[in-house]
Symmetry: C2
DNA sequence: ACTCAATTGTGCTGGAGAACATAATTTTTA
DNA sequence: TAAAAATTATGTTCTCCAGCACAATTGAGT
């Protein structure tokens, strides 16, 4: 259970284990919903999760992507709010649930654990602020290029060192990049014709990462 | 020194006081800069501060507004990063500086203090995520209406209960609302002609708050 | 295997808002 | 207090991208 786990002593580990519940989610299944009252910390054991926010009409904005080993769904509890985002499984996914009451109890006793959450939240906040500007100021090409790089940073490449280790629908790619599905498709095609990537269904290979980085920055 | 201060015992208060340095900033003066290495927690004693991020060209995006009694400039330190935002005084401002090393020391010893930062960061993260969607999905009118409401929430009204207790340039208003200065001016004029607000230089009176709320939500 | 639904792909049109220009007004500076 | 600079104001043009419409293809359900 990564970082978190390492910070606990034996007794703490026992309590956590006893209250840890595992649940499976199928592809596209919603894990938690905007407006719900947060009650559990979630730990992604296996699979991939998108954290998103409902916008106007059916346009969602993907806020953050979660990879195995990461925690999610705890922010709203700390802020004493209802969820402002939703979480859904991108592929078949296994999630561990831990009651927030227990998490809080342990944070109050274990200071390293408290600092772990401070660090994590501080990290997320920086990314969120950066993202706000990227999504509002960059043009379509820049936004999509950035998304592809983000996907790489989050999930890495497959053994061939070029294929993105995540298979998103064009719609999800659009929701991640703040554009319409049509434009995600179109721009993806353009990138392919410029030999920056290759596209085979949902499988995307990155050919010129540096050029994508340039487009993301200036395009 | 609000919340924070109340959480300290006598000895802690002494240490903090000894290391607390006060500095004044003139209107528009930069307090900290994107790319700088964070070293101090900042406490806004008097005045108003904008936290913003440089975008393409000279288009800045105002990320957050700080009011007296609030802390800022500490996130990057916790995330172990350089600043991704800048901070500047909107009006003549007085800021207290406290070395982050001392803050960290106290957090590690005082659990309530740790929890204070967890709560604050969690709050900010929720706002940032919400803001991302507002700025990307709403139209100009909705974005400006929302900004006016945000200004009210942050700084309140003057004694007349209608005049916003902050005087922003049209450019700042535009940077807050993710639009060009021209469009901020134009839309402000439109709102005035619709009797939603009155504008007298930088003095803005809110006449129909509920209508603005409607526009912010659906417009 | 067949049907229906969802996803992907392309073309076309219109509109929102950026970009630019220029003037009027206010503020700052010398 | 005159000159310069910054801010506010308004009109016009132009472009990016959303918003359709409609195929083609893929995938899911029975």
């Amino acid at each position: 259970m990564s970082d978190f786990w390492a910070l606990l002593d034996g007794e703490e580990k026992r309590v956590i284990s006893d209250n840890f519940q595992i649940q499976n989610f199928k592809k596209n299944e919603v894990i938690y919903n905007e407006g719900d009252t947060p009650s559990h910390l979630m730990f992604l054991i296996k699979g991939k999760v998108k954290v998103y926010k409902k916008g106007n009409g059916d346009r969602n904005q993907i806020i953050r992507l979660v990879r195995p080993g990461q925690y999610f769904g705890y922010r709203a509890y700390f802020a004493n709010e209802e969820y402002v985002t939703s979480g859904a499984a991108i592929e078949n996914t296994q999630v561990g649930f831990l009651p927030m009451s227990i998490v809080e109890e342990h944070i109050r006793r274990n200071n390293d654990l408290a600092f772990f959450f401070i660090r994590t939240l501080a990290n997320n906040l920086g990314q969120s602020d950066t993202r706000t500007v990227n999504l509002t100021q960059k043009h379509i090409r820049g936004r999509l290029a950035e998304s592809l790089l983000v996907l790489h940073e989050n999930y890495g490449y497959e053994p061939d060192s070029t294929t993105l280790n995540i298979y998103l629908s064009r719609e999800d790619l659009a929701n991640l990049s703040n554009m319409t599905t049509s434009n995600a498709i179109r721009t993806l095609t353009t990138f392919a014709s410029e030999q920056l990537i290759t596209v085979d269904g949902r499988k995307i290979k990155i050919l010129k990462e540096d050029e994508l980085r340039r487009i993301s920055k200036y395009g």
